[in-house]
């Protein structure tokens, strides 16, 4: 079976100075799997998710490669068709639940936007479905919550609402952009479990953007490690965690805090490893120009 999302040899540069942002990135996500997109700040993980969602800013220019959703190339599609495809087949779980809901609109209205937009539901039908959705993400008294404004809800509850909204139209592909970064550790775990459960129920493909390897280990099936817009290592979660082949991967794994072994302390990534990664990127750029 061909993968649901295929990104092949995707390169992008900054419009301002022409510096590469993505360097020949390829990744494939099968239906029903969670693909972790890992990297430090500026590694290009957000850019990739924005290109997939068609909301990349004018400052980024895709120079080559393709982003295929099924048989459609998102990079080359006419804007109007792309909007329909993205809107009806994809959903986004944003990073910060505190700012991702419009403070001026009721929860129910925001939750049911996609149903009215893409499922052709009337207000009543969408509202009824919204109640079910909230119930499904374990929100008590959905009837009441639907009529509330976001500032009435806690961060964890808002993230549940966002997850419910993301699954509302049963999207084929879900982009989760660090959905747990803004939450505290206990809520984070609950949200991850919820996400995993819904994903499994619906057979959704998920691109999970994060810088937290611990989260990746909990829920991802496959992992892509990025450094300065270049794929450093790619594989199943098992391979990456058990037999990492790239020095950067090993350094990242070693740098994760060990709660089970406090004596291990913190192991910042060795400068030599970063230098080696930089050299690898520079070598790649050199080969491109040659």
């Amino acid at each position: 079976m061909s993968p649901l999302l295929s990104i092949d040899n995707l390169s992008a540069v900054s419009r301002r100075d022409g510096k590469p942002i993505l360097r020949n990135v390829s990744l494939h996500v099968d239906s029903g799997t969670i693909h972790g997109l890992v990297g430090e700040s500026g590694a290009g993980k957000s850019t990739i998710s924005k290109i997939i969602l068609g909301i990349v800013s004018g400052g980024v220019v895709v120079t080559s490669g393709s982003v295929m959703l099924g048989a459609n190339d998102l990079v080359r599609m006419p804007e109007r068709e792309k909007r329909v495809l993205i809107g009806s087949q994809m959903a986004l779980i944003p990073q910060d639940p505190l700012t991702a809901l419009n403070p001026g609109r009721r929860i129910g209205d925001q939750l049911t936007d996609s149903l009215r937009m893409w499922k052709g539901m009337g207000h009543k039908a969408a509202w009824a479905r919204g109640l079910e959705l909230l119930d499904h993400v374990a929100i008590r008294d959905p009837q009441r919550v639907m009529g509330l404004f976001p500032h009435h809800l806690s961060g964890g509850m808002r993230q549940r609402v966002l997850i419910a909204a993301a699954f509302a139209i049963e999207p084929k592909l879900l982009i989760a952009d660090e959905p747990t970064t803004a939450l505290d550790a206990t809520v984070q775990k609950q949200v991850l479990q919820l996400l995993k459960r819904l994903q499994a129920e619906h057979g959704t493909a998920v691109v999970f953007v994060t810088h937290d390897l611990g989260v990746v280990a909990q829920i991802c099936d496959a992992v892509t490690l990025l450094f300065q817009g270049k794929v450093m290592e790619q594989g199943t979660a098992e391979t990456i965690f058990n037999t990492p082949s790239h020095a950067y991967t090993r350094a990242l794994l070693a740098a994760s805090p060990r709660y089970d072994d406090p004596a291990a302390g913190l192991n910042p990534i060795d400068d030599a490893v970063i230098a080696a990664c930089r050299a690898e990127v520079a070598q790649f750029d050199g080969a491109q120009h040659a």
Partner: protein, 295 residues
């Protein structure tokens, strides 16, 4: 099964916000006074004890009741032509509020529209609008309004037009900045992913959050419009001189301030109290209603 944390307040939708607004002392006092003025303006014909235009030279320059020489029935005295000051003030309220509400509404609608466009589309649209606003605001408001009315000819329509044309920039400037901030938010991004049109995002996601700012500005603008109308009628450029206005009364009272200071004092006090009331109302409303401020 995971547990949910409880929502912080058990209310729903609009009612609590409205209740909070009505419990705010600023809203109560400011709004109460404005409501009183609106009643005066609407019921001027019934409430005014005398015909505001009726002259009686035998009763000229009567002092307010309680002072030596006062005439019963003329509570706040008469002017040099024997016209009842209280009645003229009440009828002047009508002109002041009519002009203020219409002019402020036009300024708010135009300014908000332009501000939304500039803030949302950015680029050259924003550059053009921003320069236009800067040039506009460089003109002194009062002089510009006098100029506009002088060109258009005096009358209520000209005054309304002048106020709207000067003060739309107040709305445009603030709405533009607010829209720019809104545009960066995750819920606008989510709207884009969802496939909302630009118009849909502007009207559905951004406007509701900008509206509270506009409401605050609108009440401020009402106060300003009252002042500008008074200035224009003070210099005789507003409505025709047979319609009582606060500005007209102040101008007239200024000439006879040593003989009949009350002609001057009442409209001045009214003007002051009105502007203050609008400002307090605006501050109170914004404090209690704005959902963005409650985040």
């Amino acid at each position: 099964m995971v547990d949910t944390s409880l929502a912080q307040t058990p209310h729903r939708s609009w009612q609590p916000a409205l209740r909070a607004a009505l419990g705010d002392p600023k809203v109560l006092v400011g709004g109460g006074f404005i409501a009183f003025l609106i009643v005066l303006a609407l019921g001027a014909d019934l409430l005014a004890p005398h015909d505001p235009l009726a002259q009686d030279l035998m009763l000229g320059s009567l002092p307010p009741v309680g002072m030596a020489g006062a005439e019963p029935g003329y509570w706040l005295g008469t002017d040099d032509l024997g016209r009842d000051v209280l009645s003229r003030f009440i009828h002047g309220t009508r002109t002041a509020l009519t002009v203020a509400f219409i002019a402020a509404t036009i300024a708010a609608v135009v300014g908000t529209f332009v501000g939304l466009l500039a803030g949302y589309f950015g680029g050259w649209v924003d550059a053009v609008v921003s320069r236009l606003i800067e040039i506009w605001m460089a003109f002194p408001a009062v002089l510009l309004s006098i100029l506009i009315v002088a060109i258009l000819g005096s009358g209520v329509h000209s005054v309304i037009f002048a106020i709207a044309i000067i003060d739309w920039t107040r709305f445009a400037r603030v709405v533009r900045a607010e829209t720019m901030a809104q545009r960066q938010t995750d819920y606008v991004t989510a709207g884009q992913v969802l496939g909302f049109s630009r118009l849909g995002i502007l009207a559905g996601e951004i406007l509701p959050n900008v509206l509270w700012v506009v409401l605050g500005l609108f009440t401020l603008e009402l106060g300003l419009a009252v002042v500008i109308e008074a200035i224009l009628s003070f210099v005789g450029l507003s409505v025709s001189s047979d319609t009582p206005t606060w500005g007209g009364m102040i101008a007239q009272g200024r000439g006879i301030i040593y003989q009949a200071w009350w002609v001057f004092a009442l409209p001045l006090a009214g003007l002051l109290a009105t502007v203050l009331a609008f400002n307090q109302l605006g501050a109170g409303l914004r404090r209690s209603l704005d959902p963005v401020m409650q985040r």
